[in-house]
């Protein structure tokens, strides 16, 4: 099946700094994908490239096989909720729904109205006076009313309290499950998304560190505990991501390419959270020490 979102060697530069570099990934249709990475990793840049707000400086980005840059035919199939859920603050939710109807050819106003009615959001109050959670719901309703085949959400829950987070994600999943919408949502915390996503893209320091279905990722990583390890190859291990040692014992987080049969090692499953932390720790830049004039 053709991927919904495909990038190839994609790069975006601000001045001399690459915000995103050599980013190649394929997001299959029907997935709910988490885009995880620390602040400044390039998540927003990747999403803005995918939704046609930015033009790539290197490589290509394709959405439904076409470049999305200022391309309204492709954008008609893409719903987008930007970071901090920007809305015209003096518009009421009703007016925003009217606006969506005027700006889009395909528009399900009834769907948006039903959603917001179910959530108890006042229709006639300017959205600038709603709470952060309510604003996020309004923004999501606007994105869903486009009946998108791809839904992109940039840190949709970052400004919400834990209860509102759960409600937001629940209502999101309720809406996309039936329609088979492909979803890509970003967060700097996996814990926000772990329950809802079945696909994972880990971004750090402008590069993709890991991407794949959650099941595959979970199956291909293991924690090994065994005698002190000095770097010699282990059968079935493709890469050691993280190693910690005591005098006699080593704990390794590894990516596998086959079963680990060596009886020397005790094999444990790893949580997604540990796994992601290992990938993120990997890319920590040390340049700022020089910039600050301090020694490490």
């Amino acid at each position: 099946m053709d991927p919904v979102l495909e990038t190839d060697q994609l790069g975006k530069r601000y001045g001399r700094t690459w915000a995103l570099r050599d980013c190649s990934l394929r997001l299959p249709a029907g997935r709910v994908a988490a885009l995880v990475g620390p602040n400044g990793a390039g998540k927003t840049t990747l999403l803005h490239l995918a939704v046609g707000l930015l033009r790539p400086d290197a490589g290509t980005v394709r959405v439904f096989g076409a470049s999305p840059y200022d391309n309204i035919r492709t954008l008609a199939d893409v719903g987008f909720v930007a970071q901090d859920t920007p809305l015209y603050r003096d518009f009421t939710p009703v007016e925003l729904i009217t606006m969506g109807g005027k700006l889009n050819r395909r528009w399900d106003a009834a769907l948006a109205r039903h959603r917001l009615a179910d959530l108890g959001i006042p229709p006639d109050r300017p959205v600038g006076k709603l709470s952060g959670g309510q604003r996020a719901q309004v923004a999501l309703a606007l994105a869903l009313a486009k009946q998108p085949r791809l839904l992109l959400l940039d840190e949709p829950v970052a400004s919400l309290d834990p209860l509102a987070r759960r409600e937001f994600l629940q209502s999101l999943m309720g809406s996309v499950a039936d329609a088979g919408t492909t979803v890509l949502l970003s967060s700097h915390l996996l814990a926000d998304l772990e329950r809802v996503c079945d696909y994972l893209v880990v971004l750090n320091a402008a590069q993709v560190r890991l991407s794949g279905a959650v099941d595959d990722v979970a199956a291909s990583h293991r924690q090994l505990v065994g005698p002190r390890h000095n770097g010699e190859p282990i059968a079935g291990v493709a890469e050691v991501l993280r190693a910690s040692h005591t005098d006699r014992q080593s704990t390794l987080l590894v990516r596998t390419h086959g079963p680990i049969t060596d009886p020397m090692w005790t094999v444990h499953e790893v949580t997604l959270e540990d796994l992601i932390l290992a990938y993120l720790a990997d890319g920590h830049a040390q340049t700022s020490h020089a910039a600050w004039g301090v020694l490490t």
């Binding site: 046609g52 707000l53 309204i72 930007a82 015209y88 003096d90 700006l103």
Partner: protein, 323 residues
């Protein structure tokens, strides 16, 4: 999309209308009063009957009285010159800058309307509103200032400031200011810097054009007359705009810049300045005839409309690359 642009800018448009209403509250009563006084004093008759440059004493007194009564208002009229700039600052500059500053461009540019379409509608609506406001204002001020000009209270219509606030140029200035504001808002997509850039850009274009280019739109005319003999300057057109003047000697060398010397013939003796400059000297003046008011209005409007079109073209081109 038109609904959207209207909904977004209706408040600004309302304030524009209120501003015009406030202006009308000043212009209409004073304008009516001026016209009434103009008629009561019989100035119409004075100015038309004679075609004479030296009206009789009753008329002179009436004109003086009118000028004393209303001449001071011309100072208020100077304030009208800044109105086009205000429209550019408050309608033009925030148009794109505020979207980007508030992040709402990420909402509106990801809907099913291309940036170009969005820009056409928004620029069109705000531009049309500015055009209407400027037309009302330009015609209103022209109507208001006509009696002051006719009575000779304020000098030539071509002179700086008076030229700038009447006729069609205010409309062209307003459109230019709006286009400049939009363009500045795309270059610096934040409201305050965009407004500052609009202010600086507007002044940087308007003043050099008014001071340096305007006197040269059409080659100025020269007028010479002897220092001895003429009773006063032979002025065929009291509405002409004097650019430069002075006294030259027989060889054409300027001997007394910015001066005019008129001596009574055969008075004998070292009378006034005549003794210093010699009897062959002559007065020299460089001027634009008042009859060129409308050609100058159209030339200057043409320049600003052309600049407006250029700025809008660049704005839309740049908007597509704005990220």
């Amino acid at each position: 999309m038109i609904w959207m642009a209207w909904r977004q800018h209706r408040k600004q448009l309302l304030f524009t209308v209120l501003g015009l209403a406030a202006l009308a509250a000043f212009v209409v009563p004073t304008g009516v009063a001026m016209r009434k006084s103009f008629a009561d004093k019989g100035l119409d008759g004075c100015l038309s009957s004679a075609s004479q440059r030296y009206p009789d004493s009753a008329c002179v007194a009436a004109l003086d009285s009118f000028s004393n009564e209303f001449g001071g208002l011309a100072i208020v009229g100077v304030l009208f010159v800044v109105l086009p700039l205000l429209v550019g600052l408050f309608l033009g500059a925030p148009l794109v800058a505020r979207e980007v500053e508030h992040g709402t461009h990420r909402l509106v540019w990801t809907q099913g309307v291309s940036r170009r379409h969005w820009a056409f509608v928004k620029f069109g609506l705000v531009g049309a509103a500015a055009l209407c406001a400027a037309t009302v204002y330009g015609l209103g001020v022209s109507w208001w200032i006509a009696p002051l000009h006719d009575a000779g209270s304020i000098g030539s219509r071509l002179s700086p400031l008076l030229f700038d606030m009447q006729g069609v140029v205010p409309i062209a200035y307003t459109l230019f200011a709006v286009a400049l504001g939009i363009f500045a808002g795309i270059l610096w997509p934040k409201v305050l810097p965009a407004m500052a850039a609009t202010l600086a850009g507007f002044v940087a274009v308007r003043i050099p054009l008014a001071v340096l280019a305007r006197p040269r739109y059409i080659a100025a005319r020269e007028r010479t007359y002897p220092v001895i003999g003429a009773e006063s300057a032979p002025d065929p057109d009291p509405d002409s705009w004097l650019l430069a003047s002075g006294v030259r000697d027989a060889s054409g060398r300027m001997v007394a810049p910015h001066a005019e010397i008129v001596c009574v013939p055969n008075s004998g003796g070292p009378a006034g300045g005549c003794a210093d400059v010699g009897i062959d000297a002559y007065n020299w003046q460089l001027y634009q005839p008042g009859s060129r008011f409308w050609p100058f209005q159209w030339i200057e409007s043409g320049i600003f409309v052309a600049l407006t079109v250029l700025l809008l073209y660049l704005a839309i081109r740049r908007l597509r690359r704005l990220t």
